[in-house]
């Protein structure tokens, strides 16, 4: 009973391996988003006002 209450209070506790995996995924997502920002900026420069015309 006490153990169940302790689990509920602490929530999910990540192991070191899970923390490392999560950190590497977060860094990859950040890099991908950064690359997309640069790509879309470059496309906007190339297309100029035409980027708005579909």
């Amino acid at each position: 009973m006490n153990e169940q209450r302790r689990d509920e209070e602490e929530g999910v506790v990540l192991t070191e391996a899970q923390k490392r995996a999560r950190r590497s995924r977060s860094i990859a997502i950040a890099l991908a988003l950064g690359a997309l920002v640069i790509l879309f900026y470059a496309i906007t420069l190339v297309k100029g006002p035409g980027v708005l015309h579909r």
Binding site: A17, Q18, S24, A28, A42, V46
Partner: protein, 321 residues
Amino acid sequence: MSLVTEGADFNVPASAGAGVIYAEPSLASVGDYLALLKPRVMSLVVFTALTGMAVAPAHIHPVIGFTALLCIAVGAGAAGALNMWYDADIDARMVRTARRPIPMGRVKPGEALAFGLTLAGFAVVTLGLMVNLVAAELLAFTIFFYAVIYTAWLKRSTPQNIVIGGAAGAFPPMIGWAAVTGSVSLEPVILFLIIFFWTPPHFWALALYRTGDYARAGVPMMPVVKGDLSTRWQVLLYTLILAPLGVLPWLLGYAGRIYGATAVVAGAVMLVLAWQVFKERSPADGASRKLFAFSILYLFLLFAVLLAERGWGGLLGWISA
């Protein structure tokens, strides 16, 4: 036969991962997610799409061209992730695929599905907004064709699975061409047909010496369903169609003499190897292994020479013009 209704519970599609224990929360690394994209297939897709772009008779700004290639690559990767989501049960039973992230328990099926759908949406919308709608529509159709028509339907139901499903792998040069020109014409259709007719001899050569693997997984590949002899006959038949098709770009004038010579010689080698496969009988598998290995070189050579002849700057164009 929908991608979604087949696996109404997104985490358990078609008995995927039966008996697999998934770490909770996820232990998936960045490498696992990259593996879901099938990087080797992706590199072939990028290569053939690049050739389609290079052969197209128009100019595309390098940044827009890069964006088109990126979208095509990501779209292909998304289709690969959706394939691994749906086929996790089959993958777990085959030696060649048992170490993929889902059967290994590193990525949950639901995660792979979400990853694939997100990337597919991103690739199609970006291609449509930044390049053109024709290319985006072709990419969307290709992903749909691979994930739904091939993976969810044909692969488990007919020995013609890779014949019809091969169309999905044949679309990239057409998408590349469409990205540059905004349309589709005879030239990319011939590139499509070359890959389309290359697929059966390539995969059936592999299936001939991996028959047991496919049979264990319950995949109705041609050698499993129709037997050894029928498969060998059909490998020869498709190669007889493929060899002259490979020469067509030269005959129609949009490839040079070097391409023509390469296609004639490589096509002749393909025919000789296919004939050896036809004459071979199981359990001997030397001819099948040779044909499988050479078929990869065949397709690479044809597209590499075409790319070199007609690519930006026409690396060999001055020789073969």
